[in-house]
């Protein structure tokens, strides 16, 4: 049988020499999941830089209590577009699109996604949608926050708001098409022997994430369609002056946007579950607990949305329901965190850049998780609603969590993606600046919020001035931490040391093929032989020593 396979696939071109690669393919409508993954990663990172630039402008405005750097109207546009870009054009496409596309087929031993062309379509919806969103600055940017609550969103900067709706509808469609692809790929295309309970944990995370995307994103689309009618046609679905109900929008919006938090963090949980065992040289602790807790989080994540609406007239009995559900989410999340800690406990830790970011992820995410339980409590939430405490909480989850995890993923898989090692010294500098800048920027916001500083305002009481200046300085450090990273990427991509097939001695399929993998990933059919996390065993040592066996022709591997 292997002979037949080899004959069928021998024409597939071998991995091109790094450095001689044809870079134009990154701009083409390719169906190769690896290139699409890199397209997602680079595109979303560009948007991350844009979003970061907007954040720097926001913090510059907030360096002083007066509205002196930009006008209030521009300020509203800045934070609205900052949040929209970071959520819909950076974290969601990077966590699901980039790593999902690049890693899933490799991890399960498939040659591509189930629907490669659909995959390319989903990617190519993102650049125009992003360009559309940024173009809104020329017409008056959307200025009602990324939540776009009516009636405010129906009253200010209508053109920008319409562009915002259009852009989000495109991005949502892209996300749904991607989820269809991930789900079918994971369920149907696994290598022989790889049962669901043997899948690497990132696959479990993507399964749970894709289910969430499929269930929640369409409801946001529904809300946006109705909002668009209110805005452009003049209906009154959400407009109280015409008999509509703005709270219905909030329900529909948060029915997506709370699960969106998990859409942005579950894939990163998956990345961390892959990275920690490799750099600790230990089996993952609690495989099934980590795998199934993703589903617990997904399910619970769908029935907690109104905790964003405790101050929107939600009746007290309903608040109790959502408060308790929200707090229960801490249980499956805690299971993951303790499993990760148990994984690295007593391991032979290698403090690579990837590992630093992964451990940074765990510690920072826990802070965001704990403040999450705090704001789940109704009485506390009513006190801190729409204050900087919320801003601090969400950035610890989304930056300290998702972004740290995405950086860990980039450092870990960069050698596989581009066939070059990244520079560790620059990586460590990046981590240190990132860690200090991040905490300096966001830790003081907890205190600001508790003292009553409102979010989404360009001016504030002078008594908050000192801490705000600290936040702004932290932001500048955070922004500057990107410079060593960018230098590292550009330098490593072009001139870096050539990466071996398995630089971290990993056990998943992607490390058993060349760096970068050939066009169809493997020259032989991968068959599940050794668990993804069985570090420390004799079989693991043999498998790692064997080199890129999956990229060798069958005759060669049989000796």
């Amino acid at each position: 049988m292997t002979q037949v396979v080899q004959e069928t696939f021998s024409p597939s071109p071998p991995a091109p020499e790094p450095g001689k690669r044809d870079w134009l393919k990154y701009f083409s409508f390719t169906t190769d999941h690896k290139i699409i993954g890199i397209q997602y990663l680079v595109t979303s990172f560009v948007f991350y830089l844009v979003g970061g630039f907007l954040a720097t402008l926001v913090r510059t405005e907030l360096a002083t209590p007066e509205s002196d750097f930009v006008s209030r109207e521009v300020y509203n546009g800045l934070f609205t577009v900052h949040a929209t870009v970071m959520i819909f054009l950076w974290i969601v496409p990077a966590a699901t699109g980039a790593f999902g596309n690049y890693l899933l087929p490799l991890l399960i031993g498939a040659r591509d996604m189930a629907f490669p062309k659909l995959n390319a379509v989903a990617f190519w919806m993102i650049p125009p949608a992003g360009a559309l969103l940024l173009a809104s600055f020329f017409f008056g940017a959307p200025a009602s926050g990324w939540t776009s609550y009516p009636p405010l969103s129906l009253m200010v900067n209508k053109v920008g708001e319409a562009i915002w709706i259009m852009s989000l509808l495109i991005l949502g469609t892209s996300s749904i098409l991607g989820a269809v692809n991930f789900l079918v790929t994971i369920l149907m295309m696994r290598a022989p022997g790889m049962t669901l309970n043997r899948m690497p944990l990132f696959c479990w995370a993507m399964l749970a994430t894709s289910a969430l995307i499929l269930i929640s994103t369409p409801v946001l689309a529904g809300a946006l369609i109705l909002l668009g009618f209110d805005l452009l046609v003049g209906t009154a679905f959400f407009n109280p002056t015409g008999g509509g109900d703005p709270v219905v929008y909030q329900h529909m919006f948060w029915f997506y946007s709370h699960p969106a938090v998990y859409i942005m963090i579950l894939p990163v949980f998956g990345l961390i579950s892959e990275i920690l065992p490799v750099h600790s040289r230990k089996p993952i602790f609690g495989y099934k607990a980590i795998a199934y807790s993703s589903f617990a989080i997904s399910f619970l994540g769908l029935i907690v949305w109104a905790h964003h609406m405790f101050t929107s007239g939600t009746p007290p009995w309903l608040r109790m329901f959502f408060m308790i559900n929200t707090m229960i989410i801490a249980v499956p999340t805690g299971i993951k965190v303790f499993s990760w800690l148990a994984t690295i406990w007593g391991g032979k830790l290698r403090l690579t850049s990837a590992m630093l970011f992964a451990m940074g992820f765990v510690s920072m995410f826990v802070i965001g998780g704990i403040s999450g339980v705090m704001v789940a409590a109704v009485p506390f939430d009513i006190h801190v609603h729409d204050t900087y405490f919320i801003v601090a909480h969400l950035h610890y989850v989304l930056f300290g969590g998702s972004v740290f995890g995405l950086y860990a993923g980039i450092y870990h898989w960069f050698p596989k993606m581009f066939g070059r090692m990244m520079n560790e010294k620059l990586g460590q500098l990046h981590f240190v600046l990132n860690f200090i800048g991040f905490n300096l920027a966001f830790m003081p916001m907890h205190k600001l919020g508790l003292e009553g500083m409102n979010r989404r305002v360009a001016e504030y009481d002078p008594k908050f001035a000192t801490l705000n200046l600290v936040c702004t300085i932290g932001t500048y450090i955070l922004a500057s931490s990107t410079i060593p990273f960018l230098i590292n990427v550009v330098w490593s991509w072009t001139k870096g040391e050539k990466a071996p097939s398995n630089p971290w001695q990993g056990l998943t399929f992607e490390w058993m093929t060349t760096s970068p993998p050939p066009a169809e990933n493997f020259a032989v059919d991968p068959v599940f032989t050794i668990g993804a996390y069985e570090y420390g065993t004799e079989e693991a040592r043999e498998a790692i020593a064997a080199g890129p066996v999956l990229a060798m022709a069958p005759s060669a591997s049989h000796g």
């Binding site: 189930a114 062309k117 529904g222 008999g243």
Partner: protein, 208 residues
């Protein structure tokens, strides 16, 4: 679009087939039907979201439908409902026919389905033009038009799929008992649109 999807997924399908490890019992292992079904989950959720919005508007409003809303005529939409439900059975005959390699039968049943779908759409438009309220009359009117309109767009898309199948079936050998993904996809989609209409009819016309 559909044709191109076929081509792109072909190598993978072949690969799995050659390796002979999975789908061994199935003549044509491809995952497109599953992809359609998974996609329809998302479609169902957008309708569910809109239905829940409607139910919430209805529950929160002091009177529903708002005062001054004329009652909806039931005769024409009732006939339309019967036609659409019946068409789901008709289209299934087409699927049965192609599984017996009967292309003429497929064309007959899909042709009838297309005609029924077109009648439904024309009936819908006729109703729109004779209603006493417009899109912006009140909250009920707005939800009525957006829900039926959004469903109508889905009927239109399903109709286009069916017409696409009919167009392609002119070429001999394009569809056969072993190769009929497009037919199955159109049928599944048509059933979905049908089920959505039943819920919608209940919510808007019966429940009011």
């Amino acid at each position: 679009m559909q044709g191109s999807t076929v081509d792109s997924s072909q190598p993978i399908v072949d690969f799995h087939h050659t390796s002979g490890v999975d789908h061994g019992h199935h003549g044509h292992p491809d995952h497109r039907i599953m992809g359609i079904i998974v996609f329809l989950v998302a479609e169902a959720m957008i309708f569910l979201g809109l239905f829940m919005a409607y139910l919430t508007f209805r529950a929160v409003a002091p009177t529903w439908p708002p005062e001054g809303t004329p009652r909806l005529e039931l005769l024409l939409p009732g006939i339309n409902t019967v036609i659409l439900i019946a068409s789901s059975f008709v289209i299934h005959n087409g699927d049965t026919a192609i599984k017996k390699n009967d292309v003429a039968g497929l064309q007959k049943w899909f042709g009838i389905t297309a005609a029924m779908g077109a009648i439904f759409l024309v009936g819908q438009l006729y109703e729109y033009f004779h209603l006493e309220f417009g899109l912006k009359s009140n909250l009920f009117a707005s939800t009525f038009y957006v829900l039926t309109g959004f469903h109508g767009l889905h009927v239109l898309f399903g109709l286009l799929l069916i017409l696409g199948v009919l167009w392609r079936s002119r070429k001999a050998g394009h569809y056969s008992s072993t190769q009929h993904f497009g037919i199955e996809a159109a049928e599944i989609y048509w059933h979905f649109v049908d089920v959505v209409w039943i819920v919608l009819f209940f919510l808007l016309y019966i429940l009011g």
